[in-house]
């Protein structure tokens, strides 16, 4: 087991990627605090995983995040790994976005990254060990239509993590991001819910990655994270990884894809 005696907090577990990450970290011996905006969602995930605790956390609240980190430290004396899987998306043109919708997306996806890093850093600096990992998105670099706030927030998170990695290099703390290629339906549903919109039909998001069997992606990303968190990943910091390259505009433009 690559991660025995490690403690992790995973923020946001309503999607397949987060669930695959929780499962993999646990299989590798990691003790887990699993949070979600909806505690019952975290309960479902922890019910299938040993050595895990579920907490309800709104990642827009610094207080909630601090409490989750403190719970981990109280229970296991330290925190080794924080993974932020909290992502919401809104499928809407920029000219139609309201200010409130913009704020909701950016706060949930990016400001959460700042809160989480800040909450975990002190203990990690004291221990001279840790890893901060953000689950962002390939849209950070591809920039699709109708997901402008989402793309902006995802690349903003990567920018934040890159700078942070420079600040904590000498404290043996690694800071990385992974960039999943497909948009999970759950993040569109939650994004719509938090902004009083209707989510798009299931299936539209899958068109982001038509050449890849995305069904295998959550497990593949979870394996990558376990590697980054392990001893073998200890020289890797300030990186944003995706699993494949598809830098072609027509895969990004959902409006056009819908006509295929």
């Amino acid at each position: 087991m690559k991660l025995s005696n490690k403690t992790a907090v995973v923020f946001g577990c309503n999607g397949l990627i987060a669930q695959a990450i929780c499962k993999k970290l646990s299989e590798e011996g990691c003790k887990l605090i699993v949070t979600d905006l909806k505690k019952e969602q975290a309960d479902i995930v922890t019910s299938e995983i040993k050595d895990s605790t579920a907490i309800g956390v709104d990642v827009r609240s610094e207080k909630d995040i601090k409490e989750a980190v403190q719970t981990a430290i109280k229970k296991y004396d330290k925190i080794d790994l924080v993974v932020n899987c909290s992502r919401i998306a809104l499928f809407k043109e920029a000219v139609e976005l309201t200010e409130n919708e913009w704020d909701t997306i950016v706060d949930f996806n990016t400001k959460s990254m700042y809160y989480i890093a800040k909450a975990a850093l002190k203990n990690m600096v004291d221990n001279n060990y840790g890893m901060i990992l953000g689950v962002t998105s390939k849209t950070a670099t591809s920039g699709p239509a109708n997901l402008s706030a989402y793309s902006a927030s995802m690349n903003a998170s990567i920018g934040f993590l890159r700078s942070l990695s420079c600040e904590v290099r000498n404290n043996n703390i690694r800071v990385n991001a992974i960039c999943p290629g497909f948009i999970e339906h759950e993040e569109l549903v939650l994004g719509a819910e938090l902004t009083n919109n209707t989510p798009p039909d299931k299936g539209i998001y899958i068109q982001f990655s038509p050449l890849i069997n995305v069904a295998n992606e959550p497990e593949a990303l979870a394996n990558l994270i376990a590697f980054l968190a392990s001893e073998k990943g200890e020289f890797i910091t300030g990186q944003a990884y995706s699993l494949w390259d598809d830098d072609l505009t027509y895969y990004r433009n959902l409006g056009q894809m819908a006509e295929f």
């Binding site: 913009w102 704020d103 990254m113 997901l147 920018g159 433009n253």
Partner: protein
Amino acid sequence: MRLENKTVIVTGAGRGIGRAIALSLAREGANVVISDINLKEAKQVAKEIEELGRKSLAVKTDVTSKNEVDDLIKKTIEKFSFLDIMVSNAGVSSMEYVIDMPEEKWDFNMDVNLKGTFLVTQAAAQQMIKQQKGKIICTASMAGKGGVATQAHYNASKHGVIAYVKSLAQELAPYGITVNSICPGSIKTSMQDREVQWSAQIRGAGATPENIREEMANFTPLGRIGLPEDVAKVVVFLASDDSAFMTGQAINVTGGQINTM
């Protein structure tokens, strides 16, 4: 002249890179609306534009206020009845390690640099869609492509601008509107003056602002700190028909300091 009788708005045009952009666009024949949070400085630049023989208008805009941004577009259309080019340039920076960073510092950088870009470009896009024509140019930064200690909030905001511009470009392409960003490197402005002073303070051990600036020049392959005019020339190109087939791009103006596309 490449921009004769075009109407342009430049936000954050009271000083620094924004001022140089406004003056360069005017020299190419454009009428320029000078938007800044500091109305006194905006009026001064508007006067310089008029001295070049172009029309101008000074508007006080806090780019984090949707009302003030909408008002900026309204005043521009009232006076010029068309908006050819929007240069969303207003930006701020500060320096702080994440571990000690107060939430207000995070919000300040993200609100002005990223949300301000959204509000300004959205209002411009709404007007340009009616016109079925337009060019939007955003000032991002080389900080939008790499990472540096003490500016995690600033880097986040500028990374956000670059990704946002890519998405917006996809959305506005069907209307004949292009959207690009520029990524200045180390440029001699009042923002840089503050940053080298902060850097010297943070580093301590006898470091001076002059040392830091010299270091910045040494880090730059072309061997000097850039001038606001270096950036303005590229904005003129992006504002002109010469760049008609470019959209969604983030152009480095860094003296070679960063190699990422």
